[in-house]
Amino acid sequence: MKVRVLYFASLREKLGRDLEEVELAEGATVAGLLALLRARGGAWAEALAEGRPVRAARNQDMAKPGTPLAAGDEVAFFPPVTGG
């Protein structure tokens, strides 16, 4: 299944990408997607390393590592927010 992945702010800059489509196994979770991206190595392994403060959203709702994904989902990764 395919999901749309978005990157914001410092993560977008470190990864040099704001948007892509990623092919995932059925039943994959946010954690599974992160592991797949991390496995690309380089900036991906570094910026998405475990323990880094990376937040995730699924279809514009905050998500947890265990949140399951479905085909066509919009998944976003970004650093902790600093608005206002």
Binding site: L6, F8, A9, S10, P53, A57, Q60, D61, A76, F78, P79, P80, V81, T82, G83, G84
Partner: protein, 158 residues
């Protein structure tokens, strides 16, 4: 409920007037304007850029205002948050809350601001003399938002 996220500046006075007229039962309008300061953590800041997540940001703000409406008696609320490049002295954010009573207006306004700081997808990048840097989330902002979680408002002076 009025929620705007965009690059345009706002007129706090006009938004306050609009909410004051929301209903005749409005006796209190509390508001907050956040501005770009010229210094942060010791460095002089020349400009800042605010990035957001179109769609999710507006949705998050609507949820925050909805939560405030559940907790307090509110007649209406307006939130305007700017994005893009802003300079010292520029307005960043406006929160206006109208209510019958001042306690509700003040608390809901402060609650919305605290949650905006920690829940709504906005990211700030500052330009200083030594280059650009992304602003990191502050523990004090998390603490300000967390105080509303514990047990409602029971340990807040009323």
């Amino acid at each position: 409920m009025k929620i705007l996220v965009g690059s345009a500046d706002f007129d706090a006075g006009a938004e306050i007037r609009a909410l004051a007229r929301a209903s005749r039962g409005v006796g209190a309008v509390a508001s907050f304007v956040g501005l770009v300061r010229d210094a942060n953590e010791g460095d002089t800041v020349g400009a800042m850029t605010l990035e957001h997540y179109p769609g999710m940001t507006e949705k998050s703000i609507a949820e925050i205002v909805g939560e405030a409406q559940n907790r307090w008696q509110i007649a209406d609320a307006t939130v305007i948050h700017r994005v893009g490049t802003l300079r010292p002295g520029d307005q960043i954010v406006l929160v206006v809350v109208a209510s019958a009573h001042r306690g509700d207006a003040f608390e809901a306004c402060e609650f919305i601001m605290d949650y905006l700081k920690t829940r709504a997808p906005f990211w700030k990048k500052e330009a200083t003399g030594t280059g650009e840097r992304w602003v990191e989330a502050r523990a004090s902002d998390d603490a300000a938002a967390a105080r509303w979680d514990e047990d409602g408002q029971s340990d807040r002076k009323r």
